[in-house]
């Protein structure tokens, strides 16, 4: 069934889009991430313009994260104060990111910049995840213990604030900076950024694992909402029809994914996610290095 996407100005098979949503939803439910990092490249791959893919993916990620946030909120797993600080940083970062995005689009290098960000960010994150889970699996067999919370230079920073739910008394500067960085990436890559936010919150901020997912979803929902509105204003490339089709698939897929994920062990899950993230980075990296089939490309004069 062909559907005309009013903003992308192309007609696509609705079942293909719902299928992509379903698949990404399945993986996101399995690994507990938003899945934007898979959604954007897949949309670009089927011919959706980069700008529409990024902006719409942010919109879709927001919808997918809302249901997760509601579930975690009900169980009291959200540190709203920490979420608020992360969001404040995220809003600044994403506002800056959307401006960079619009500028890069104007000079005709958007495809390259989006792909380069994916290669670098996913390459680093995927590599770290694989290494970390490999180490964890090894450690399990050696029965080594690791300290949960280490003190380093970060804890000497000023503007300390008490985060009761996270049982932390730390400076607001690190969470603000983390929020800022993730917000920037959210605008450029069309992702929620959970795959960076979650490890950063655990390893850098020392937030207890119980509230990490809920709190990161808090930040993701508000930042992707802001990105959606800002992209709608500055690049007019949010396609609601595309977003709705993707969400229809993703919501259903996430349920099956969550059931599947429950059967996997923590280290294996993280290792698998790392392999997936690395695979996307390598695929896009090869695309940048390989001689393109057609050296010429066509774009609207902006």
């Amino acid at each position: 069934m062909l559907v005309y996407l009013p903003i992308a100005e192309m007609s696509v098979d609705a079942f293909l889009i719902v299928g992509i949503g379903l698949m990404v939803g399945l993986l996101s439910g399995m690994f507990g991430v938003g899945g934007g990092f898979l959604m954007t490249p897949l949309l670009i791959f089927i011919g959706v313009p980069s700008s529409v893919a990024v902006a719409t993916s942010a919109n879709q990620t927001m919808g997918a994260s809302v249901s997760g946030l509601i579930a975690h909120w009900r169980r009291g797993n959200v540190d709203a104060k920490m979420g608020g600080v992360l969001t404040a940083g995220g809003l600044v970062g994403s506002a800056f990111g959307v401006q960079v995005f619009a500028l890069v689009r104007q000079v005709g290098q958007l495809d390259l910049v989006v792909a380069a960000f994916y290669v670098v960010v996913l390459g680093i994150v995927g590599g770290l995840m694989v290494a970390e889970s490999a180490r964890a699996i090894l450690r399990r067999s050696k029965q080594m213990r690791r300290r949960l919370h280490e003190h380093f230079w970060m804890h000497g920073l000023p503007f300390k604030m008490r985060f009761r739910q996270s049982r932390l008394y730390i400076s607001v500067i690190p969470p603000l900076l983390i929020g800022l960085g993730v917000g920037f990436l959210s605008a450029i890559m069309g992702v929620g950024g959970g795959f960076i936010l979650v490890p950063a919150m655990i390893y850098l901020l020392g937030i207890p694992t119980g509230v990490v997912i809920g709190t990161s979803l808090f930040q993701v929902v508000f930042v992707t909402a802001a990105v959606t509105v800002m992209q709608a204003i500055s690049t007019q490339s949010v396609d609601v029809i595309l977003a709705l089709l993707l969400m229809a698939g993703a919501v259903a897929g996430a349920q099956f994914g969550a059931a599947l994920g429950a059967r996997l062990r923590g280290e294996e899950t993280r290792g698998l996610l790392g392999v997936l993230v690395l695979a996307v980075a390598i695929e896009l990296g090869v695309g940048l290095l390989r001689r393109p089939e057609n050296l010429y490309s066509l774009g609207p004069a902006l």
Partner: protein, 250 residues
């Protein structure tokens, strides 16, 4: 004959036209299967049937017919990728200010054999004779060729020698395809009757491509009320997420 239905209708329409008094004074009579194409949510392209007949003195054997359909101009940029430090990036570019967003030409025979190169350029007939107004400093014909090739791949440019079917030396019809990527606006169909390298009769007909229905509304709101549109997109996503959490009780 691919589809007897439309052709039978065509013949009936032509007979009706011939019967009409004042119209018979024109050497060339033509009509389109539709004067308006609506781009709706279900739009996946459209086919326009151009049909007509030569009358009076013009209706003698040996004439050729050329039909063109031209969309509104839309400036485009053609970019060429170059390799910098092992990575393929967009390098030099050329901007074409008067490239038509859509251009299709159908003729009874290859257009090169019907008119001289000067005549084709004067009449802007055929892809090789389209004035595209490159703006750039770089005089590189490969950019122009790339534009024609890329647009042809997208079916936005087409040249079909043999695309016009003549019946009994005077009745003609051609089918032109507009892909889903056509932009809305005022299109124009030109029909030329040629003999011995000269245009002996011509006729033009307007065709309107317009956005209609839900997709038109969405597009309009996204352009005119971007803030409201963004908020609505956020609300919709939140609603979808909430419905999902209720449906599945995560």
């Amino acid at each position: 004959m691919r589809a007897p239905g439309p052709v039978a209708a065509l013949v009936a329409a032509l007979l009706a036209m011939l019967g009409a008094g004042p119209a018979a004074a024109q050497p060339l009579i033509a009509e389109l299967s539709q004067r308006e194409i609506a781009v709706t949510t279900g739009f996946s392209g459209a086919e326009v049937l151009v049909f007509g007949t030569a009358t009076g003195d013009a209706a003698q054997p040996g004439a050729d017919v050329v039909v063109t359909l031209r969309g509104p101009n839309a400036p485009v940029v053609v970019r060429r990728k170059v390799r910098i430090a092992g990575i393929w990036v967009n390098g030099p570019s050329e901007r074409f200010d008067s490239a038509p967003s859509y251009y299709a030409l159908a003729s009874t025979r290859p257009i090169e054999g019907l008119l001289s190169a000067e005549e084709r350029r004067r009449l802007r007939l055929g892809l090789s004779s389209l004035p595209l107004s490159p703006r750039g400093q770089i005089e590189d014909p490969s950019f122009r060729q790339a534009l024609l090739d890329l647009k042809t791949d997208q079916r936005l440019y087409a040249e079909e020698p043999g695309g016009v079917t003549l019946m009994g030396d005077r009745l003609f019809h051609a089918r032109l395809f507009l892909p889903a990527a056509v932009i809305p606006g005022q299109y124009r169909v030109d029909i030329l009757l040629l003999r011995d390298g000269r245009v002996i009769a011509e006729r033009d007909l307007p065709l309107t491509v317009l956005r209609a229905g839900t997709s038109a509304e969405i597009w309009r709101i996204a352009r005119e009320e971007p803030f409201g549109y963004g908020l609505a997109a956020v609300m919709l996503a939140a609603l979808a997420g909430w419905v999902g959490s209720v449906l599945f009780r995560r």
